[in-house]
């Protein structure tokens, strides 16, 4: 009847009647650590399978010497982009290289889209002429730009005539050689 049930559930009591401060528990809850562990696992699972380099396909036009077999382009629908040194791009429209204007890789998108808007989609052609000072990165970026802006017809051309090269040099000097 006067039994005191001191056993069962909860902590151990030192002894009846001993009033002591709470004994701090030494048990660490490892749940957050396990969460972290699994997060790291999933991270590694995803990154090891996803880090594969991608490839950009390039189709080169056949070298044709006969002028009648070359693709006919309307001069007014052509935008020529010349890639110079120090990530500079010089562009002109149509046949007139004297109106050479400088731009950079960020602004060139607006230039392309602007020209695209003003021309028939069937006729719009972008001619890419990298110079000897253009870096490989520039070339790949401009080709990527063609895909981003959905330009259907573009050509990578090797020859930059001495006349155009002079114009580039003059434009560089006018804007301060960088």
């Amino acid at each position: 009847m006067a039994e005191m049930d001191t056993s069962g559930g909860g902590g151990h009591k030192k002894g009846p009647g001993v009033k002591k401060g709470k004994k701090l528990s030494t048990r660490v809850d490892l749940t957050p650590m396990v969460d972290l562990g699994f997060l790291l696992i999933t991270f590694f699972i995803f990154t090891t399978t996803v880090s594969q380099p991608t490839a950009m396909k390039i189709f080169l036009p056949k070298d044709v010497d006969k002028p009648e077999e070359q693709n006919k382009v309307k001069a007014s629908a052509v935008l020529t982009l010349m890639l110079g040194k120090n990530d500079q791009v010089y562009y002109y429209e149509g046949d007139d290289p004297t109106k050479l204007q400088p731009t950079n890789y960020k602004a060139v998108r607006d230039v392309i889209l602007d020209k695209k808007r003003r021309t028939d989609t069937a006729d719009f052609v972008v001619v890419l002429k990298p110079t000897r000072d253009a870096s490989y990165k520039n070339v790949v970026n401009i080709l990527d730009e063609m895909t981003i802006d959905a330009v259907k017809r573009y050509a990578l051309v090797d020859l930059v005539s001495p006349y155009e090269r002079d114009l580039i040099k003059k434009t560089e000097e006018a804007n301060g050689i960088k």
Partner: protein
């Protein structure tokens, strides 16, 4: 009232075991992460929005490093083709390579060609691991003297029947003339299609390509 003592069990689960398993799994995945055979040629490729994965089999890879040096390698799984290529070039250029030298190219993983024909014999005396620190001249690709044309022609005949994946892996800092030389070697061999290795980046928001992707749902654009 009958004293019914419900046996009270502790509800605290000991998480130590679970933690052990988690870290074991983690270590497993870290260690089995595929490490690409460390290329002797470090190239930082430019980025592009392309989503097609670069091929890894039946690959002839032309590497252009930041000093505009051109190297050629063939994927390790294509030993027969490697053998054919080195034999063809040996006979056509009269290099008189010994079997050991040929084996250094054919049998060793990650081997690549990086010297003009004149230096081939001494170059092939070393295995790819020995070559890691040494500076080599690269294959000449200038318009006057483009040796890559011969190499590509040999690859083309070696890969007859199977599809050959021509890929170009160039460094950001390489300049256009070396790429032009590589391009000309392809054109001379009538190889008009090739692929350029890039890092994937996401399509910038608001551009034409982005809108096209959104319109066609999750279909990959190429």
């Amino acid at each position: 009232m009958p004293k019914v003592k419900l046996p009270r069990k502790s509800t605290n689960i000991d998480m130590t075991a679970m933690c052990d398993v988690a870290f074991l799994l983690l270590s497993f995945f870290i260690l089995t992460a595929k490490f690409k055979p460390s290329d002797a040629l470090t190239v930082s490729t430019p980025s592009s929005v392309q989503t097609k994965i670069a091929p890894e089999k039946d690959v002839v890879m032309i590497t252009i490093d930041k000093d505009n040096k051109v190297y050629m390698s063939i994927s390790d799984g294509n030993r027969n083709q490697k053998q054919d290529v080195i034999d063809a070039v040996n006979t056509s250029q009269g290099l008189k390579l010994s079997d050991l030298q040929k084996a250094n190219f054919v049998k060793k993983a990650g081997s690549y060609i990086g010297v003009p024909f004149s230096q081939m014999a001494s170059y092939l005396n070393h295995s790819p691991d020995e070559l890691k620190g040494i500076q080599i001249a690269g294959i000449p690709v200038d318009s006057a003297h483009n040796e890559l044309t011969t190499w590509i022609a040999a690859c083309k005949s070696a890969f007859q029947g199977t599809h050959m994946n021509l890929i170009v892996k160039g460094d950001n800092a390489a300049t256009y003339p070396s790429f032009q030389g590589v391009k000309n070697a392809f054109i001379k061999n009538d190889e008009m299609k090739f692929q350029v290795v890039t890092n994937p980046v996401s399509v910038p928001v608001g551009t034409e390509l982005y809108k096209k992707n959104m319109a066609s749902g999750s279909k990959a654009v190429n």
